[in-house]
Structures are given as C-alpha cells and as structure tokens.
C-alpha cells in the first residue's frame, strides 16, 4: 500500500510552528495517526483529551478506529491535533461571567449537559447557549474589567463528579475562591444599581425581542463547528420555559439562576407586566435579597433528610407538650395602648386629626377620650378583621400614618391613624396587618412583622443620590423596578407601594419567596413566548411567530395582537424544507401553515418546536436519564438523519 505524507499541526507547538508531517497509509486508523503525531511532537503530557480536527471540512475525527480511507482523508487534508475541552467565558443568568472548560467537540446539547453538571444544575435540556449581543464598542472601552469567576480547575465533565453531602460538587470545596464561586451560583445576587439597569441593552419591541432568538447555537453541532473559539463569550440561559420537576433541596443553583433570569427579564422589560405586578416583583426581590444574606439554601442529602424529619418530629412533640402554656398565654393576650391621633375623612367635613387613648386587643381597636376613661365604654370599637391596611408614611416629613379601610355592611370605612414616631408606628402597623388577616398580637409573627416594617422604613431614608448597590440595611427602590417605573416614580414614591406589596410576602422563607416570584412570573400572559419574525406563505408582510411550551401564536406586527393560536396537541406533523428554508406545519382538521424565517435560521424554529415536544415527553415517572437520542431526533436537521 502506498505511503504518503499527512500534515498535522499540533496546538501545543504554538501557532507559528510548521505542521508536522507524518507518513501514513490509507488503512491507518485515526488512533494510530494520533499516536504517531504525539511521538513525533516529542512532548510528554496527558494527551487523552486531544482529538483531530479537519479544518477544511469543519469536522471532528472522533472515531479512533476509523481508517483514513473511511474518513475520506487524502494528502491534501490539513488536520489539527487539539484538546476537546477548552476554556470558555460564560455569562450565566445572574449576570456574572464564569470561565470554565467546556467541550468543543460534542454537540452543543451534550456540551450544555457538561456545563450544567459542573454548575450543579439539573435538567440541562432546558438550557442552551447563545451568542451575546455585540456590545456597541463606541461606548469607550474603558469599562472596568468585568469580574470573571474562574473554575477552569474543575475536573472535566466527562468524568464522574463527586458531590458533597450538601449537594455541592466536591471540587468547589478545594479552595476558598471556588467556594465563593459556588456561593455566587447558589445565592441570588444583590440588587443592581439603578444605572446598571438603565445602561443595559433593552429590547423595546417584538422585533427586537425576536432578534435575540436568532442567536441560539445549533444543539446538534459542536461549538468549534459553529465558529466558537477558545475564550469566546457565550450566554447560558434557560431556553425552554417548561421547568420540570423542581426540587428546592436539590435545585439550589437551578432555582437561583432561574430566579435571576426571570428578574432580569422583568427589569429589562423583556417581559411586560403591569404596575401592580411590578410592585409585587419588587417586594419579592427585596425580600429575597434580604433573606439571602442570612438564610442559605439547606441543601440536603438523604441522611440529612432523616435528621430533618426527626428534628421536626421532635419539634412537633415539644409543641404538643408546650401547647398548654401557649394556650394559656393566648388567654391573656398582649395589648397595645397609646395616645394616637385619628382622622376620618367624610364628605363635607374638614376636621383634622384628633387625639384619643387607643387600645389594641385581639383584632380590635378601641378608643377613649383619655387614658383615665379607658375603663369606661369606648367611644368606638373597630374590628380590623378583613380590613385593608395601607401605609401613609414619609420618614423625612416624620409622618407615620396608617390608612385603614374597614369593611362594614354599608361599605368601607376609611380611617387614618397617626403615630408619633417610627417605633410606635411599626408596632401598631404590625398589629393592624396581623388583625386584617385575623391574627392577634399573640401571633408568633408579630415581632418579625415589626422588624420587617422597620427595615423597610430604613429604605426610605436612603437619599436618591446614593446610588450604591444593596447593602445590609438600605436599598434604593429604583434597583427593584424596570427603567419605566424608575422614570415614572421617585424612590420615595415607590417605597410605600413596594411596602404595601411587601407585607404580603414578608413572612416567606427564601425558597418560598423564590418560588412565589417564579409563579407570578409564569402566570404573566406573555410568559415563555419566544418570538421569531417570519413571513407566512402567500403573505407580503412580516409577521411574528410566538413559540410557547404548548402552542404557537401568530402576531400581527402592525397592531401587536395575537391573530391566531395553534396548540401542539392538534399538530400532526411539521416539516422543514432545508433547501428553501421553509417550515411547514399540519394541524388537525386539514389546517396547513408554511412560513420562512426572517430573524432566525429555520433550524432554530425547528429546534424550538421539537424541543418543546421533547420537553412534554418527560413524564413524572421517568427516571433522570435524559433521552438524548430522542431530542436529536426531534430537533436535528437533515444531517442528523
């Protein structure tokens, strides 16, 4: 058999070095070629991660037993011996950049699985990679070097990664730096400074939102094939909004990153919400930020679970035993009493605040002319059960009012109570809040309610010029809302509104708060819609296709309205014509649609639809193993079949 020369460049020899020439025969297999190159290079190192890359054909030669002949390699081929895992800069949902080694040779789907394994995120099929928006370099590049968390020291994802008892992969425990990285991953980030939000790129309309979806990488091809280079920057993001089987104990990183993605989507107005909803989101962000400082995710292993349940059991027992005391205590419920001022706005009356002696017992406020007369009949009694409580507070103006809307058979009675100072206000406000929910002062949540009101009052003390990020005590309320509301309201105006919403969430634990945030996010009408600008067959103008986890929608660009909805369960089949780049879908009842894609490759649309179908096949009973083959079958292009 004829012997011929094959030129192979070795990355380790440097970019300038001439390719090595080795003599081969056509029946030599790839493994043999690598062996020869390694010998010739005379470098001693672990070559196990290296593979051959065929530049002209843009393809990896990953089957060591295939012969050169079978691969179709002739003397003109230029091959390159290169590591399969290389460092990459990854922008993760919480906005930080991570440097880690990822696989450049496997399909992106598998690469993401590896990344998620390192980051300890379950259900990697829901995430994918996309190109970042090209930053406008005009904005003078003197921007501070961004902080990069480096975990290139981590083992390759192809190996088994040990986990510690608390669910953290073992390699994070190796140094304080890596431990800090894991904390960054698993704990939500402090609220950003308002300018940071205002400065970031925001999409303003559906077409711009559609542009982003053109940036997704192809899941069935490798990073190198798609032109990603070592140390390039990519975004890791949840792509399929169908979050399967979330277990807070095991999903610390996943939940946190999901929360961060949702939060940024709201702050950057990627998903629209109403003012009322924004206030609830702001309140939850504030609460999550506050609780994250103290509480950590209790990641647990089975043994811990046992211990937990045992402890709980014990607690219940203790409670059972102490219930007698508790109940006796409720018999002698605590009371509040003070001189306060009251004001009842009525039609055609302009009376001001009047001072009385107030007592708060159970869920009822009574007031008397003076302290001395408190043993007599009160002037009036107000039961606050079911009432609405709103703050009317200005710390700067030393105004501490509680606005009560007390329901009665005739309607709501509006009453204002004015307190003298913060401490008094916090106590009375907390009591009113509890009473409106039917709880008494004896309720265990009273003191924490008082505290949360005080800490929130602190929020108002920050001056608007102080634009620092969240610290322990104070926070700029502009950090919690999107630029639209930053413009509409001053921080001081926002504070009472956020406080109002905050009172409904103040008692939630960290995990509950995050889950609540995600729930409200998922209940938004536009949740989970990925937009693509398309041109329907036979139409002359561009329209928008929205892809969600259960349906496709057609949006008229000129009026922004949903014109048509097709649900996947009525879909019979979809076809992609790769030559004319057209997607054709057939639905029940002989409904056929066809469109070409404008802002994204049709592979991306195809992958979205197939991906959501794949997500819906994940049953509850199914084991954790991921059916990669099915995913590629549903999302792969023609080359995959």
């Amino acid at each position: 058999m004829a012997v011929w020369d094959l030129s192979i460049s070795v990355e380790e020899l440097g970019p300038e070095a001439p390719p090595l020439k080795i003599s081969v025969t056509s029946d030599l297999h790839i493994g043999g070629v690598i062996l020869k190159v390694v010998e010739k290079s005379q470098i001693k190192k672990d070559w196990s991660d290296h593979a051959l890359w065929w530049e002209q054909k843009q393809q990896w030669l990953l089957k060591p037993s295939w012969t050169l002949d079978k691969c179709g390699i002739h003397a003109d081929a230029r091959l390159c011996l290169t590591p399969q895992h290389k460092p990459l800069r990854l922008l993760i949902p919480n906005g930080t950049t991570l440097r880690l080694r990822v696989c450049f040779s496997s399909p992106v789907f598998r690469t993401v699985m590896g990344i998620c394994k390192l980051l300890n995120i379950r259900r990697p099929e829901e995430l994918s990679l996309l190109w970042p928006v090209e930053g406008k370099k005009k904005k003078k590049d003197k921007d501070v070097e961004e902080e990069v968390y480096d975990i290139t020291c981590a083992p390759l994802p192809s190996t088994t990664i040990l986990k510690l008892a608390n669910g953290m992969p073992a390699f994070y425990a190796e140094s304080p730096e890596t431990e800090a990285v894991y904390k960054m991953l698993a704990v939500s980030q402090p609220a950003p400074a308002p300018e940071t939000i205002a400065k970031m790129y925001r999409t303003t309309n559906v077409t711009e939102k559609a542009q982003i979806n053109g940036r997704w990488l192809d899941s069935s091809r490798s990073l190198l094939q798609q032109g990603v280079k070592e140390n390039d920057k990519l975004i890791l993001r949840f792509k399929y909004y169908s979050f399967h089987d979330i277990i807070p104990q095991a999903d610390a990183v996943r939940l946190t990153q999901l929360y961060e993605q949702a939060r940024w989507a709201l702050l950057l107005e990627e998903i629209e919400c109403t003012e009322e909803e924004m206030m609830v989101f702001a309140a939850l962000q504030y609460h999550i930020g506050k609780v994250s400082l103290t509480e950590q995710f209790v990641a647990s292993c089975p043994a811990m679970d046992d211990l937990d349940s045992a402890l709980q059991c014990l607690e219940v027992k203790m409670e059972g035993e102490s219930s007698a005391d508790d109940m006796l205590e409720t018999m002698t419920a605590p009371e509040l009493h003070d001189y306060l001022k009251i004001f009842r706005p009525k039609r055609l009356t302009l009376k001001g605040y009047k001072q009385y002696w107030f007592t708060f017992k159970d869920t009822t406020i009574s007031y008397y002319k003076s302290k001395e007369e408190s043993s007599k009949e009160p002037i009036q009694q107000m039961n606050l059960k079911g009432c609405e409580v709103a703050p009317d507070v200005s710390v700067a103006g030393q105004k501490f009012c509680i606005r009560l809307l007390i329901p009665g058979p005739e309607g709501m009675n509006e009453v204002y109570l004015r307190c003298e100072q913060e401490q008094q206000y916090s106590r009375w406000m907390a009591a009113c809040r509890l009473a409106s929910k039917g709880k008494t002062l004896a309720d265990s949540s009273f003191s924490s309610e008082v505290q949360s009101i005080q800490s929130f009052l602190a929020m108002q003390k920050t001056t608007p010029s102080n634009n620092t990020a969240q610290t322990d005590e104070s926070i700029n309320t502009h950090s919690l809302v999107s630029p639209r509301y930053q413009k509409k309201y001053k921080p001081k105006q926002l504070a009472p509104r956020i406080l109002e919403a905050y009172q409904n969430v103040a008692q939630l634990s960290l995990t509950d708060a995050i889950q609540k945030f995600l729930q409200i996010w998922q209940a938004l009408p536009d949740f989970g819609l990925a937009y693509i600008v398309v041109r329907f067959k036979g139409c002359r103008k561009d329209e928008v296709l929205g892809i969600a986890n259960n349906r496709l929608i057609r949006i008229d660009l000129s009026i922004g309205d949903v014109v048509k909805t097709w649900r996947y369960n009525t879909m019979r089949q979809w076809n992609v014509n790769w030559d004319i780049k057209q997607v054709a879908i057939e639905f029940d009842g002989n409904v056929n649609i066809a469109f070409s894609c404008v802002t994204a490759d049709c592979k991306i649309v195809h992958e979205y639809i197939g991906g959501y179908i794949f997500m819906s096949t994940r049953g509850r009973e199914q084991s954790d193993t991921l059916n990669e083959e099915l995913f590629h079958k549903l999302t792969g292009g023609h080359e995959a079949l």
């Binding site: 079911g386 309607g411 938004l524 076809n575 014509n577 030559d579 054709a584 049953g619």
Partner: protein, 643 residues
C-alpha cells in the same frame, strides 16, 4: 407548685359548673345552646331567621328533632372525649376529680329518642390503650397535672368554638335547619346536607348566599368556612342560604376549553376530545402556577357613585382585573387595575336592568364580603350575554382561588362517586377501562420519527417530524387515589345506604366532622393496577405505521381491562378525567343490593335536573340534553351567531 395545682382544680370545677349549667339550660329551653358558655368575644345567633327566638318558633317539629340530635351528638361526643381521657388518667390516679357529672344528668326531654343514637355512638368509641408501664409517683403526679391542664384547655377550646344555627333553603321550597360550627368548611356542611336531603350528591350542588338588598347570589366555595361569611350578615338581614345545583360551579373542569379557548370557533369546542380537555387542565391547573383564562373584551362598568354605565375594554390577569384606558394600547404597561382579588368576592346579580339601569341583566359585582348594602366600594360590571358573564365570573374565581378550586372539584368528584348510584359506577367502568389506550397511541405517534416523508414540498432533502406526542405525563391513567372508595369486596353493606337513613345511629365521630359521608377512608385501598399500565411508554420507535395514521391512532382497540376482575372498578376522577374515544365495553351488571333511591324523598326532583351521567364522560354518546350548562351555552352561542 401547690398554687398551680389549686388553680387548676379551681378551673376544672368552674368548667364543670359551666357544663352543668349547660345541661340545666337544655332542660329549661327547648334548644340547648352548647356554646352559650359566657365567653367575651363570642357571638351566637341564628342565620336565616330574623332573631333567635323567632327562629325557634319558626322551626318545625322535625327540624327541632334533627337539630336536637345534632346538638346532643355534639355535646356527648365532646363529653365522651373527655371521659376517655379521664379514664386513662384514672388508671394511674384514682384520686382525680370527676368532672363528668354533666353527662349523666344531661336530660333532654324534647328528644329522648334522638339522644339514644348519640349515646350508643359513645359506647363505640374505643378507649385508648391503658398506660403500659407503671409510673413512679412523681411521674404520676406530673401526668395527672398534665391531664388536668389538657382537660381544662379542651373544654375552653370547645367552649370557644362559635356555632350558628343555619336555616338552609332547598330549591323545592322546603328548608333544613342545621348547626354549623366555625371549624366546618362548606364541604363539611354539604356532606351534612347530602345526608339530610337524600339528593344525588353530584358535584354541582352548592351552598349559596343570596342578598335581596343587592340582588346578588354567590355560591360558597367548598373550602371556605361557612360561619365566617355568615357572621358578617347584619342582624336584620334578609339574606338566605340556599342549597341548590349550580351548573357553572365546576363547569370549567368539565369543559375547560370553553374558558381557555373561548376565542376559538365555538363549534370545534363542542367536540373536544376528553384527552385534550385533560391536557388543558393539566397545563392550566397542574403547573407551578395556575394559568388564568386570558379573558378580554368590552364590559360595562358602573362609574363610582354614578348612575351611568361606561364601556371599557377589560382584561383578566392573575393579579387582578384591569382595563385599558381610552386611547391606550392593550400593552401591560398601560393597563389600569380596577380591582385585585385578595379582599373581594365575585357575585352574580339579578335584574340589574331595573335596579341600576344596566344595559343587560348579565351583571356581576365585586365587593368585600362584609359589605351588605349599596356602596361606592362595590364594583358593578355588566356583560353582553350570559356566556361572557359565566366566563368572567369563573375566570375571576380561578384567579382568586387558584389550585384550591381544582382540589375542591376533585374532592367533590370523589365524594359524589362515593355515594353515587350503581348506574354511575358502570359508566365509570367503561371510562376507566379505556384509559390505558394512550399507551399504544403514543408509541405509534413516535413511530413516525425516523420516517422521511414525501411531501408536496418536493426535494428529498426534506424531513418530516412526527406529530407531537401529547404531553405524556398526563397520559397514563391516573393512579387510583388511595382516598377513593374502592370497590366493596362483597355486594352487601353498601356504605352509602346505611348512613343515608336517618333512623340509623350516626357514625361515631367527633363533632367537628359531624355527619360525614360514609367513612370510606377506612376501606381497603383498591387493587393496584398492573405495573405496565402505569409505565410511561418508551420511545424506541416501533415499526413505522403508515404515514398520517394519526386519526387511526385515536381509536386503538381497547386493551384488556386490567380491572375487569374487580367489578365495579374504582370510581373516581376517571369519571371526568379520561374517557377517550374508545368505545366503552359493556357495563358490568349492577350488583344486587342497590341503595334504595325510592326511599329518597327528593329523588324525583333530583333526577329531573341531573344530566344523564354518561354525557359528561363520553361526549360522543351525547344524547338529548337536559339542563346541561354546556349545551345551553352552545345553543346560546349559536343563537348569537345566527343574529
């Protein structure tokens, strides 16, 4: 220490006195009021009567008897509980004071016969096992003290419970009087009513509140507490509690497409497949958050305090009811919130065209439950037609109650099937038998995957993808709920019939859960279905079936019924949930001892109204409709389109 001891014995004595006085009161007054122990913040009045005394005169004899039975069972059950506790402590410490006198001298002249069942129920209650080990003296004392404290607290707790005597109007014009305590949910009260009225217990039964001043009606949700809202009625209230069937109560779970796909062509909604309905429910009610129907459209809003009604474009969101102001878009940022649902309830209104000059009579209001009269704090809304009113009111209920509503429905179905007739069960047999059918279907669907197709598109460079396998996690038949009444192993002793008849002693139960339905929880669980019926289908593509055979997949041959050997099969959610298109197998013959519906006084009326059960499970079989909301809505829609 001795001080505390003394204090407790004092307290116990006081408690005894109180209970005794209770007994005396019972002798002197026709109606004992167990809750009349002086407690400062306690309220006690009757509902449905102008005042309590009048209410007593108002009561008919049989009502009184029934009420007495309630009360006696209530009191004696409580006493019994103390007694058993006492017994245990007596074992260890015979010196214990005996606070149990009241029970023995608790004479009830009015209803000696009804008190019998109650006492008999007492004897059934099993005393707790005696303490196993001998305690040291100190421990005994400790124990004794603890017992005393516990007893005192129990009594205090019991005394504190608020109770109302409620007159419930039944649709046939009659009424029932019952006692409701504040721990009971509407579900508990309905179970109680089912027992008293012998109706068919279907899921549509509903306890409603009407307000003649506002001309409103609202059905209480099953999880709600009944005493709370009733306590907010004014003393002279003309409000009524009505027990009736309301088709719209759970219509959203029977026909979710009407609410979630209201924009679609109405005709295609009619013949929605059961499995598609299931999927809709799964998507909207079983996810991380409940999805509220995306309702939007023009409604009339009565301006605050004014007489005029203004048209506005409203949108429903999970966070509240919004409208878009004039000249603005429907974009979220421009929406104005009319009301959030935390503090308000939604009420149907009657004849607002007359009362408030509303454009139509299809009005609903949103108000705080405590508001009983016209007020500027009430939001008045008016819809064009009945369908849209049903959509909005149901949508608001979903936004307000979320998953709880679905839980209520599932409980209702479970309870209804628990006491349903045998005829009902045979229907369920057919539906549950057809549930395994999705399995072959999915396999077939996936079988398309590797098949390239020749399509009109031309070049072979084209791939075809299978029809989406429907969301698999909902496809396997729902695993039998352990709470479900399993098929009785032997035909005799149908639990439902035993408790339906009033002459039987009430089941031994503690009063909170008074008058439960047959205690089905105690029955053995249903036989587990064969493993493979539960397993998700694997995705290895089987030999590709002919292209486009999707339609054929819809009707797979019914697989062998795994439960066939256990007639009747477990009734339950399947009833609603899963009758696919498969033809039902022949129903098994009804087991011999059918609970006698003939003995049921209101059965005739009930049967008239209730839709034939098969209709709900298999729409294909839809025969004549009678009072079915769905078909009514459809006719209404068709009429509207015809205009």
């Amino acid at each position: 220490m001795e001080d505390i001891d003394a204090m407790f014995s004092d307290m116990l004595q006081e408690m005894d006195l109180l209970t005794q006085s209770l007994g005396e009161e019972a002798e002197s007054a026709p109606l004992p009021k167990p809750s009349s122990i002086p407690e400062p913040q306690q309220m006690n009045f009757s509902v449905g009567f102008t005042d309590f005394n009048a209410s007593l005169h108002d009561l008919e004899d049989n009502d009184l008897d029934a009420l007495m039975a309630d009360l006696v069972a209530d009191i004696s059950a409580t006493e019994e509980k103390f007694a058993t506790e006492r017994d245990t402590s007596k074992d260890s410490a015979p010196i214990a004071p005996k606070p149990l006198q009241p029970q023995s001298n608790f004479g009830l002249p009015a209803s000696t016969d009804t008190s019998k069942p109650a006492t008999s129920s007492n004897s059934i209650a099993a005393p707790p096992p005696p303490p196993a080990t001998k305690l040291s003296k100190e421990e005994q004392e400790e124990q004794l003290k603890a017992d005393k404290i516990k007893l005192a607290l129990e009594k205090l707790k019991e005394a504190k419970v608020k109770k109302l005597v409620v007159k419930v109007v039944i649709t046939d014009g009659s009424s029932k009087t019952l006692m409701v305590d504040e721990r009971q949910t509407v579900r508990d009260v309905m179970d109680n009513l089912f027992e008293k009225t012998h109706c068919d217990c279907n899921v549509d039964w509903c306890v409603c509140e009407t307000n003649p001043d506002l001309q409103t009606e609202r059905g209480f949700e099953d999880h709600e507490n009944l005493v709370d809202p009733l306590s907010t009625w004014t003393r002279d209230s003309e409000n009524k509690v009505i027990f009736q069937e309301k088709k719209d109560k759970y219509e959203v779970f029977r026909n979710p497409q009407i609410f979630y796909m209201w924009k679609k062509d109405k005709k295609s909604l009619m013949d929605m497949k059961e499995k598609d309905k299931e999927q809709l429910l799964e998507e909207n009610f079983c996810g991380a958050s409940v999805i509220v129907p995306d309702l939007e459209g023009v409604l009339y809003l009565k301006e605050d305090g004014k007489k005029s009604w203004k048209q506005r474009y409203f949108l429903l969101r999970a966070s509240g009811l919004y409208y878009s102001p004039k000249g603005k878009t429907k974009a979220s940022r421009d929406l104005v919130c009319l009301v959030q649902f935390d503090n308000v309830n939604v009420y149907y209104c009657k004849e607002y065209r007359n009362k408030y000059k509303a454009p139509t009579d299809h009005c609903f209001i949103l108000k705080h439950p405590q508001i009983q009269k016209e007020s500027q704090y009430i939001k008045y809304l008016c819809c064009d037609d009945e369908l849209s009113m049903t959509l909005w009111v149901t949508g608001i209920r979903i936004a307000k109650y979320g998953k709880q509503l679905y839980e209520n429905y599932k409980t209702a179905v479970r309870k209804a099937s628990g006491s349903a007739t045998w005829a009902n069960r045979t229907i369920q047999a057919s539906s549950s038998a057809s549930t395994p059918s999705p399995k072959p279907k999915v396999k077939a669907a996936n079988g398309h995957a590797p098949q390239p197709t020749k399509d009109t598109m031309g070049p072979a460079n084209q791939t075809s993808f299978p029809p989406p396998p429907p969301s698999l996690d909902i496809l396997p038949p729902p695993p039998p709920d352990p709470m479900l009444p399993p098929p009785p192993p032997a035909p005799p002793a149908p639990p439902a019939s035993a408790t339906k008849v009033n002459k039987f002693p009430p089941p031994p139960k503690f009063p909170q859960s008074s008058f439960p339905p047959p205690p089905m929880d105690d029955l053995p669980p249903p036989p587990p279905p064969p493993e493979d019926a539960e397993l998700p289908p694997d995705f290895l593509p089987p030999p590709p079936p002919s292209f486009g055979s999707y339609g054929a997949d819809m009707l797979p041959p019914p697989p062998p019924d795994p439960t066939a050997s256990f007639p009747p099969p477990p009734p339950g959610p399947q009833n609603f949930a899963s009758a696919g298109g498969a033809p039902p197998p022949p129903p098994p013959p009804p087991p011999p001892p059918a609970p006698a519906p003939a003995a049921n006084p209101s059965a005739g009326y009930v049967r008239k109204v209730a839709p034939p059960p098969p209709k709900r499970t298999t729409p294909q079989l839809t025969a004549p409709s009678g009072g079915d909301l769905m078909s009514e809505l459809m006719t209404a829609m068709q009429k509207k389109r015809g205009q």
